[in-house]
Amino acid sequence: MAEGSIATASPGAPPATDEATFFGFTRPQAAAFLALVVIVLASPFVVYPFFLMKLLCFALFACAFNLLIGYVGLLSFGHAAYFGMGAYVSGYAAKAWGVTPEVAILLGAATGALLGIPFGWLAIRRTGIYFAMITLALAQMVYFFCVQAPFTGGEDGIQAIPRGHLFGIFDLSSDFAMYWVVAGVFLGGFLLIHRVVHSPFGQVLKAIRDNEPRAISLGYRTDDYKLMAFVLSAGLAGLAGAVKALAMRIATLTDVLWTMSGEVVLMSLVGGLGTIFGPVAGAAAIVTMQTYLAEFGAWVLVIQGVIFIAAVLAFRRGIVGEIGNLLRVKL
């Protein structure tokens, strides 16, 4: 016991390292990401771009939501507010002001983020069910605002939103052209979220989720970090809504309705909370189901409900979580 150091017993074999290969991805994640890129690039030649755009917008929305629940442990039940307001603002700017699509999209994302500041500030003071209730209540306020405000077009919403010319140059009126914008925003957003999770900031988020009092005792003002994560998540949800408004050429009350908040929870759950690829898989599953089961009308909801219950009971880790568990990798 010279120098008073604690005697080192053999600590055993070091655990399997998941050292990052590039951009903070582990090897399996990098492989999965490459597969995702290939699918995103190839699918518009096989599947209707319009359907794919919807899918990617919701995938980005779910990724944004997952940033909060999966990495900070906060369940927001009001993310429709940021998604829907992003959609309204970008749709309105494109239609009424005739701004170019990239400006419309940025305005939508900024709306989500700005709305996230006061809402996040109010909500992060609570956790668990109280946090969920506050986010829901605030989102309901946004919904009623949208019902009343003239610029949203009330029950009709904003329809026939012009996609315009990207940077004033590239005509986006065809779905095929618009698809590449959506794909670019989706991949960009996905990488940004991955970067946030694997950044010095993301490291603090993990610590806060692990043991908040200890993080505080090390001098971290944990509320600031939670608020930052909230604002990032809200901004990305706004981004997803903004792109959706241009891609689908419509922004309506459905986008801000509480069912939309529920849907994004469902997508993340089905795909796998706290996995990077889970929300994408979950969104793909739910959007595909909604599209192809549309003929069953109201039964879609019932079928969704059953899937939700099955997911919760049988596949607790979600699609991607279960696959990762089978392959013993973190996806």
């Binding site: 604690i6 946030v196 950044s199 993990k206 505080i216 003002r221 600031d224």
Partner: protein
């Protein structure tokens, strides 16, 4: 610089009428190891929570380095160099041992809000973190998840993480609780060593440890200060003996023999 680094006056905490800490006057001298002892439920941990603002005081005043800190936030207390540990070991279980220590270094040195920069930026702290881990004998565990460590080593990791902040004053809540005999000896040596050049306020049940480490001791019972002084003075105090007798004759025995 004043001789007293931490001082409380009339520090009181009530939980819905139940007085957990009652009118405590505490003066901790700079550069000493000050023991805070007392039977279970005496209010020691509550005192720590009050001193570090994890709980607001009901009444009273706390000053640190001559500055009134009664109304500060807990994170800001830590930033003043007054860093606490917890009675139940507090590590970040899903982070590696190295990442645990790095997290403290990262806070002290900046860039914790950089969400757009890569995690690899934190590698700049690796060498300092490894030094700290070596200090507590955890080098071989650096890449393990902290949650997998045996209990004694979790406590060592906590101390390394706390030291990474280079605190002026450390509050340690039962650092040897639940440890094997060997581990206790190691922690005692470690505390003695890290206390050089710092002030330590130590809650401890093991009176052997207290006797070996502490320059001054404050005895709490039912929230109030029962006695204060060096080990010999305090252990001879009949009220202290009675308080310990009332709850744990084993400890009372060791008190008398001390």
């Amino acid at each position: 610089m004043s001789d007293t680094i931490l001082e409380t006056e009339g520090m009181t905490k009530e939980f819905r009428g139940f007085v957990a800490v009652s009118d405590v006057r505490l003066q901790v001298k700079r550069g000493t190891i000050h023991g805070l002892i007392g039977p279970n439920g005496a209010g020691k941990t509550t005192c720590f929570n009050l001193l570090t603002k994890f709980l607001p005081v009901t009444r009273g005043k706390i000053s640190y380095e001559g500055r009134d800190i009664t109304n500060l936030k807990p994170a800001d207390i830590a930033r003043l160099g007054l860093v606490r540990s917890f009675q139940i070991s507090a590590v970040f279980p899903h982070l590696t041992v190295l990442e645990n220590v790095r997290l403290a270094l990262q806070r002290a040195r900046g860039n914790s809000f950089d969400f757009w920069r890569p995690e690899s930026l934190l590698k700049q702290y690796d060498s300092r973190a490894m030094e700290l881990l070596e200090d507590v004998g955890l080098t071989g565990y650096a890449r393990h998840n902290a949650g997998e460590l045996p209990y004694g080593r979790k406590r060592a990791l906590e101390i390394a993480t706390t030291l990474a902040l280079e605190p002026t004053m450390m509050l340690l809540d039962e650092p040897t609780a639940g440890m094997t005999h060997d581990d206790v000896d190691r922690i005692v040596t470690l505390v003695k060593r890290v206390a050089a050049g710092r002030t330590v306020l130590l809650v401890e049940h093991n009176l052997k440890v207290v006797e070996g480490l502490c320059d001054t001791i404050t005895v709490l019972a039912r929230g109030a200060v029962l006695a204060q002084g060096d080990y010999a003075t305090v252990s001879r105090n009949p009220e202290v003996q009675a308080a310990y007798l009332g709850t744990d004759p084993g400890i009372a025995g060791s008190t008398q023999h001390g």
